[in-house]
Assembly symmetry: C2
Homo-oligomer: 326 residues x 2
Amino acid sequence: MTDTTASTTPAPDPAAITTIACVGIGTIGGGWAAYFLARGYRVKAWDPSPHAANRVRSLIDAAWPALTELGLAEGADPRAISVHTDLAEALDGAEFVQESAPEVLEMKQRLLADIDRHAAPGVVIASSTSGYSMTEMATEAVHPERLVVGHPFNPPYLIPLVEVVGGEATDPAAVAWASAWYERLGKSVITMDREVPGFIANRLQEALWREALHMVANGEATVEQIDRSITDGPGLRWPLQGPMLTFHLAGGPGGMAHMLDHFGPSLRSPWTRLDAPELTQELRDAVVDGCDEEADGRTVADLVVERDRAIIAVRRLVEQIREGAA
Amino acid sequence: MTDTTASTTPAPDPAAITTIACVGIGTIGGGWAAYFLARGYRVKAWDPSPHAANRVRSLIDAAWPALTELGLAEGADPRAISVHTDLAEALDGAEFVQESAPEVLEMKQRLLADIDRHAAPGVVIASSTSGYSMTEMATEAVHPERLVVGHPFNPPYLIPLVEVVGGEATDPAAVAWASAWYERLGKSVITMDREVPGFIANRLQEALWREALHMVANGEATVEQIDRSITDGPGLRWPLQGPMLTFHLAGGPGGMAHMLDHFGPSLRSPWTRLDAPELTQELRDAVVDGCDEEADGRTVADLVVERDRAIIAVRRLVEQIREGAA
């Protein structure tokens, strides 16, 4: 079965792809399937559960109105999915594979090796894992060079973010291919050049979650207060401007440079549970330059205008949604 | 000047208040002034800068379209503000005082004592401070019982959150009065029963910010990646559902209880920089009960529907704003 030429077989031309395999179609894999269908692809799914086919059809039906509202690709068909219990059958003809099995390392290792054995040469295989590195998961695969992580956020059909990273044995070309492919699909892709446990978004979320748990544990805040402090506070800014740009604006006309140069010492506030890194010149410059790049010529005043428009609009939306749900 | 009966003078009836003093009208104080004007109040401002009057009028003019869009109170008048350089004059007739001076402890101590000396008996005096506790700031005031923290988020005329907390010498009645007053003004008020440095939202923001700085310092992520991981990821959920409710949904139909009981061990993920608190039964119950209260009868499925509607709507908004700004 082993095809030793696979590593030199080029990956399919993204523009010519018609068929995608989804291996594991629970909440995440099923969400991916719904998204691929909405983008106009045919999906072949594999799942060992006898209920998988019914469940994924329900999930697709539930997601379809939202996907329609966001805009379907020409020819998108919610019924263009077949569910298989034989892995080789599901992978036959697939030009890209998204694996979304449960987070059990041994299962992932075996499954990725099996997928690698059956998928056509050159086809890139992505794992939705949130918990393991590809270096850990690829140990049993014959062609680890084509295995990448493509970590989505739930629900994968609505949240644009996908974090892409390879393992030690992954060919950088496979990482580049996967990133370009997800971008073609309309995703917001973050390509990481090293394996960081938790990737980026989960590390940030986890820091916030742990701080929140400390506050509850110490009786400093209730669950409701924590959530409201975000939904009615900084959460109103974050869909448009992330945490770094938020501090860029907090620096006034001088932006992040002013913020770090003048308030840098507050990085050493004694009250936070998470120690700050040392504010070296290098870190200072990386943060300032990063904000300038993101601002892309927009002054802080321009960004303030954008922020304010977003806050007003987001507030109105949330009110409408709450009223609709009441 | 000292009026020893002040502590027993009741605070004004919020429904009868017509005049508010804003002490310090930079970005925060000026933002407060704009908000009070939009709610139909007359504002008397004090600021030592000769440019303060012009600056605050520009700020109010810039904020007014947004405030109009959010809905003005009857009779709201952007010109109903007078700017004084004499503190006693500014405070004459004020039924509530919002102090927003620079974050310099000695200045705050002196200024709050001066305000306390000139403000009418019973009038509650709130400080916008983000950095000091009222216990630290009230040391020179004769009537510390009426001094509270009313910490807004920038810009105070758009972000609903206000964190209210008293100092050791504050009368709990003043804290309760301030909370009711801000709520009457349309604010989302979090009343804290103890002084926690950084309050709630800033502690959460700070944990995230520090984790982000560590990632930049270690070359694990760029500034742009950090921001995009939020704006295109969890940031799309946070205006409607905070971080706790986000994990409630991540638990599936069983919600937070399932999440903590089954994935509790992941609280001990070795990869986070901030240690998690011990997941005691008490903490577990506080978090689970808090989520149930917030859900207020809505099932996880109901919340998923709300979340998805919000994500779609927020995504469209952000697209429109970006196109408008391009």
